[in-house]
Symmetry: C2
Subunit: 322 residues, 2 copies
């Protein structure tokens, strides 16, 4: 009997000039797609805003970067995912993680047999639905450590940082992950390959769950403003500890003491920094409240763990963005 | 040997037409002084703002009240306490409770041998310094349950509620307290006499410590906005419980369950209401962060009681008003 081999480890390879379709061509998507284009990728972009679409179609995308400005023209520019009729090797999803946005449905028309889905988004649990909907496609989950902002249609400003962490979702390794990492490396982006990307998401949440909400609730507070207040440092530390305990309960043991101290001391050394949530807030964009705090409080309830600090930030942020 | 009797229970009596000097003639001070004037008191006022001083000197004070509008002209109008050279029977202090404001020093020149000091302020511990500085004067501590706002110089709008709770500080009874209560009653103000006014302050703090900060942090949230969110109701309830436990540790046992449920259900039944802290915030005035939250967190540290919800609100409010 001649049964097909189970489709467990996709034999997918990323060529040196992959076709990349970017869904959510904001600051993050536009920046990293530009780096992929520099490395030889054939980048197409989808823009949900008419102004962005018009600007990019006529002038391409300009990145004003601390590492040197650059400019690229997407191979094709679209208003809707469904307009893209080629076969993408990589679908780079960089939309915000918002409950009202059904990413699996949004990208459906562009997911072909061999498409690698690369989710470059903040928060926890952002891969679940996509992985369920496309069980045969490799899902690469990615975290961007970068301060980047779209300053007007077609123009992105890269202020600081820039490294990536990527990994096969939910864990493990795959050639396509290494190949994607190499592609980024070719254009100068440090891109770590992680065997357990979900654990990396928890580590990033230790910082994000504290500083993102507090920067907004504290009325346009920079990292320095937040760290300068003794009562606030105490709250920040407690938020970090709560996230560590949740990660632990979820099977991702983080070294609480070391991670908390590292996050605090690194933030002390940073230049005054506006969080991405504060930038969104100031621009009147929706905030990733659920992907960053809501899911943490729900995981706390599941494990019957008390998280009073997270609970307070979550309730306040929901109220403040009602 | 003929030694004088110890000056423990001041034999002070308030006449039917007492001289009242109002320090802090804002909405609260202006409203209740107006009621005392209606009851026959000879009211003088101190205004630190030139605009208020000018308006009141020329036109008196108008109160647009749900119970019927009224108008009164102070007997004398001043810029500084020291300008008042008569002997006040009652010094009505209705300034905000702010750390930078030394009330004892502010009123010093007007405190005479028989002056009753009536502190009508929010928060905890607001009497301490005044009682220390003037150990021979009776201090009446008062709480106003009222929604009242100064809408322009010389004009106060009384939106709802209006009752008072007053008591001899730190506890006990005195004729002057009953007489002050009668004076308010004569002009239609419900004024309860409390044997333990500090305990009443704790009871009021149960509500204030939750709703005042959250109304500001939640971006102009009314009581209804706050109660409409399930995660926020949970936070509110926990703040109330923390305050009850602090009161208990300070020797003021509050019936936690009953008080929390009463506060929640009464707030549910209220018309959407802007807290006094939110009104101050919207008017750009300083907030009573220390008298309402700071002192609670310091009492928690003293008793080594965990108060994560209060700690978070305090740190955020300090940051937001930096």
């Amino acid at each position: 009997m001649n049964s097909p081999a189970p489709h467990t480890a996709p034999p997918l390879h990323i060529t040196t000039s992959p076709r990349v379709l970017v869904v959510g061509t904001g600051a993050i998507g536009g920046y990293y797609a530009g780096k992929l284009a520099q490395a030889g990728a054939i980048v197409s972009t989808v823009h949900h805003s008419q102004a962005d679409f018009d600007a990019v179609r006529h002038q391409g995308i300009t990145v004003e970067s601390i590492h040197g400005d650059f400019h690229y023209r997407p191979f094709s520019v679209h208003r809707e995912v469904s307009e893209y009729t080629a076969t993408a090797d990589i679908l780079l999803v960089a939309v915000k993680a918002l409950p009202e946005l059904d990413v699996a449905r949004l990208i459906r028309s562009a997911v072909r047999e061999n498409t690698v889905i690369f989710l470059l988004q903040n928060g926890l649990g952002i891969e679940t639905e996509v992985a369920q909907m496309f069980p045969l496609n490799p899902v690469i989950s990615g975290l961007a450590f970068i301060c980047v902002s779209r300053i007007r249609p077609g123009v992105i400003r890269h202020m600081c940082y820039g490294r990536l962490s990527i990994g096969l979702y939910p864990h493990g390794e795959a050639d396509c992950v290494k190949e994607l990492s190499s592609l980024f490396a070719a254009s100068g982006v440090t891109c770590a390959v992680c065997m357990n990307i979900v654990e990396e998401r928890w580590k990033k949440l230790v910082w994000n769950a504290a500083f993102n909400p507090i920067s907004v609730l504290g009325r346009h507070a920079t990292t320095r403003d937040m760290m300068a207040s003794l009562p606030m440092r105490n709250v920040i530390e407690n938020v970090m500890r709560e996230v560590c305990r949740l990660a632990n309960a979820e099977g991702h043991p983080l070294e609480e003491e070391a991670i908390v101290q590292k996050n605090l001391s690194e933030t002390d050394r940073m230049e005054p920094y506006k969080t991405s949530m504060l930038l969104d807030f100031e621009a009147g964009r929706p905030l990733e409240v659920e992907a960053i705090l809501g899911i943490a409080t729900r995981i706390a309830r599941k494990h019957a763990l008390p998280t009073p600090f997270l609970d307070t930030l979550y309730a306040l942020l929901k109220l403040a963005t009602r």
